[in-house]
């Protein structure tokens, strides 16, 4: 007999269906958001269908055709082992999206939990947790990931873990700041007053309310994760060769940047397009999900 008491956060009495339709419409009408979403869906398709889409195997070496320029057989040419660049890019999408997804899942779970607990608990617990969080936040994230990969060895799992650890504090900080703004709201007080347990209040009210801004932050984390993975691979600390990742492809191509620039250029573009799509999605979600950002923006000036 508890949850039903909590009123809606907004007093709007618009019928639910209509509100959902309107919101959906708003998302889809947002050009950046829909473009970002479209690109990401496309990329996910490419990643999933890599075995069928890629004309060659990602590590299939053809020593008779090394550093080939684009041709019918090798659309984007080959690298120094005669591996098809296009196929490697297609397979690389898998790793990049895998890293992004896994990092998002991990940092979202742990970051939200840490932030929510800290924000909800308050007092010395919050202060201690947030001091630790701030320390990690102030630390250059990429350097932290680098140190962690160095500590745990270079593998896909470790890259994901390192990047997640490095970027969890960001989610935690956002989550906490959201929670402390919700904390004093009447429906929380009310739920407490009627004896709901803390964890229940947290789960039932705080999390759903905090989610929109946290989702926005996680799209940014996903973008950062892809960039971090590429950076680590570039330095030789990421996912180990011969696995096809976009970072590895850039790194492979670095030595051939003047003779076969297409290797590095195409992989860099793939990263950029994915990251742009994620950022567009993040910006779009921020515009549509977070009403705080949809403010009166002032007369056009000058």
């Amino acid at each position: 007999m508890s949850a039903e008491l909590a009123p809606e956060t907004t007093a709007e009495a618009v019928p639910r269906g209509r509100a959902v339709r309107r919101a959906l419409g708003r998302y889809l009408r947002h050009p950046g958001l829909s473009l970002g979403l479209f690109v990401l869906v496309l990329l996910s398709f490419v990643a999933i269908a890599a075995p069928w889409l890629a004309p060659h195997g990602p590590t299939e070496a053809d020593l008779m055709n090394t550093l080939a320029h684009p041709s019918g057989d090798y659309v984007l040419g080959t690298d120094q082992y005669g591996r098809d660049i296009l196929s490697r890019l297609i397979w690389g999408a898998r790793i990049s999206l895998e890293v992004a997804l896994a990092v998002v899942a991990l940092s979202l779970t742990f970051g939200s939990l840490i932030g929510a607990i800290a924000g909800y608990a308050g007092g010395w617990l919050e202060r201690t947790m947030m001091m630790g969080n701030d320390i990690l936040l102030a630390f250059p994230g990429f350097l932290l990931a680098l140190a962690l990969v160095a500590a745990r060895g270079s593998s896909l799992e470790n890259v994901i873990l390192a990047v997640s650890i490095a970027y969890t504090p960001r989610v935690a900080a956002v989550m906490r700041s959201v929670v402390i703004t919700i904390r004093p709201r009447p429906f929380i007080e009310a739920s407490r007053a009627i004896g709901m347990s803390s964890s229940r209040v947290l789960l039932r009210h705080v999390l759903p309310n905090a989610l929109p801004p946290v989702i926005v932050v996680t799209t940014v984390s996903a973008a950062t994760a892809i960039l971090a993975e590429a950076g680590l691979s570039f330095l030789g600390l990421g996912v180990q060769p011969p696995t096809a990742t976009w970072g590895n492809i850039i790194s492979d191509g670095q030595g051939f940047i003047t003779s076969n620039p297409l290797i590095s250029l195409s992989a860099g573009l793939c990263i950029a397009i994915t990251v742009i799509a994620l950022n567009l999605l993040g910006d779009g979600l921020r515009d549509t999900l977070d009403p705080q950002m949809r403010r009166y923006t002032g007369e056009r000036m000058l």
């Binding site: 009495a13 309107r22 419409g25 708003r26 009166y296 923006t297 002032g298 007369e299 056009r300």
Partner: protein, 335 residues
Amino acid sequence: MSDGAVLAVRDLSTVFPSEAGPVTTVDGVSFSLGAGETLAVVGESGSGKTMTFLSVLRLVPPPGRVTGGEVLLEGADIAALPASEMRWIRGAGIAMVFQDPLTALNPVFTIGDQMLEVIRAHTAMSPRQARALALEVLERVHIPAPAKRIDDYPHQLSGGMRQRVLIAMAIALRPKVLIADEPTTALDVTVQAQILELLAELRSELGMGMVLITHDLGLVARYADRVAVMYAGRVVETSPIAQGFGRSRHPYTRSLFRSIPRLDLPADQPLTVIAGQPPDLARLPAGCAFEPRCFLGNGREDCRSERPALLPTTSDRHLSACPHWRALIDAEAGA
């Protein structure tokens, strides 16, 4: 509409495009204001009170747009002025005091700095002269020890003090018209009275026309000479306070009155809440906007089909947009 009006507005309209089509937030509003007169503008939130005066100042936030009407300041139409000249009217011709003194001052500048910014935007005064003027007006709004206060940051002042600073800023250039947009809603009750007294005092000292936008009907009777009631972007009734504010000639005004607690009535008399929702401006009915909630006209065919005009009732100075206003008087007489 009298020729002696310091500010006269005719048929002012402002439209906002929206997903559901254009929304007319200010819909053919007309009123006039004499020098030294206080006009109270009342209505529920969203009724277009503030938007009307932002339209007068041409500060409607985009994508909103003033679509028509005249704004005569001392007889000159400022609605037609180019944007570059409009700036000179703001602050010097018509000044505005906003609702929340807590957010109306820039937190990272001293109040003196902000006042000087306004003064020097309109005059060629040296910083020293401008500062002297700022001190003078601060004195005028009864800020104690203004020489000390002028270098304070807003957060060092109380809410009431901040509102005085904003008023000082507004009157510094001796505007012809002062628009006070709910100047006391954000303040303590005790401070409210002081601020309103100050405004009244300044109005008579400086001979300004004053607009008091409020939803506090109690204030209207005490401080205003005339009242204009707005509903759904339209003025539905204007009347002199002397004509008896209680004797409203519009059902909406009546309902508004009954919905506020009053100390002069027995405590056990029930308060009436106005039935229904405030109107959706994007989907206004063809007829009277208040019809769906009206105790008088709900369901009446003429109310539904015809949009009523603002017309004189018992006197030339008391206008109502309800064709059935007589029914209200009958009911009174009957009671």
